[in-house]
């Protein structure tokens, strides 16, 4: 059972355009929502993250919009560049293990392959 649903599977955007990736979840115990960027043959790299008590977070060209009541969140990439071409994963975090350790399990979406055309 996929705990985090991500769409679209692939996305092609012109240079300078806006890329939008959407995710949805069901488990209200999730307490942290990061986005990761992954290039071929590399591990995922943290891009931006948001807590559920915040509706929007912006870092440079990247913005997360979060709708707690709808249990949805999205990543917007403004002024998309060819260097942004990668696979993007949304994730939702839940605490695991002993209290106070801060250990958490990330449930990932299935990824969106973004291609930015020059």
């Amino acid at each position: 059972q996929q705990q985090v649903k991500q769409s679209p599977q692939s996305l092609i955007v012109q240079k300078g355009g806006i890329s939008i990736i959407n995710c949805a979840y069901e488990n209200t115990a999730f307490d942290y929502f990061p986005w990761y960027q992954q290039f071929p043959g590399k591990g995922p790299a943290l891009l931006i993250a948001i807590r559920p008590d915040v509706s929007e977070k912006k870092e440079g060209r990247f913005t997360i919009s979060f709708n707690k009541s709808a249990k949805q969140f999205s990543l917007h990439i403004m002024d998309s560049q060819p260097g942004d071409s990668a696979t993007y994963f949304c994730a939702a975090s839940i605490k695991v293990g002993p209290l106070g350790t801060g250990a958490n399990n990330l449930f990932f979406g299935t990824g969106t392959r973004l291609t930015v055309i020059p």
Partner: protein, 115 residues
């Protein structure tokens, strides 16, 4: 700054052979450590996590095991590999004790092919 090292980068092993993947973290003390597996076309799935030396928790039943012999060393092992163990294995770390969501920082992974 903190860095995470994983090796080897790629590995081809026959069915029934043993496995040992190693991960080390530098620049931080007492981190939480994780092993994830990424299957083609799917997101990552947590296999094991550790909140301290010798403390291992498993999230899914499988043919694999994990150990943490030192504070910043995490090892993924198998006594006998199965074809289904093929995949991309990622080690990650997070800051211990953070109250709210703590980001995971991933290594560059090991591509394992079991033949």
């Amino acid at each position: 700054s903190q860095t995470i090292h994983q090796w080897p980068a790629t590995l081809v092993q026959p069915v029934g052979s043993p496995l040992s993947l190693e991960c080390t973290v530098e620049g931080t003390s007492n981190p939480n450590l994780y092993w994830y597996r990424q299957a083609a076309g799917r997101g990552l799935q947590l296999l094991f996590y550790s909140v301290g030396i010798g403390q291992i928790s498993s999230e899914v039943p499988q043919n694999l095991s994990a150990s943490r012999p030192q504070d910043r060393q995490f090892i993924l092992s198998s006594k006998k590999l199965l074809l289904s163990d093929s995949g991309f294995y990622l080690c990650a770390w997070s800051v211990r004790g953070q109250v709210f969501g703590s980001p995971l920082h991933f290594g560059n992974g090991t591509r394992l092919t079991v033949t």
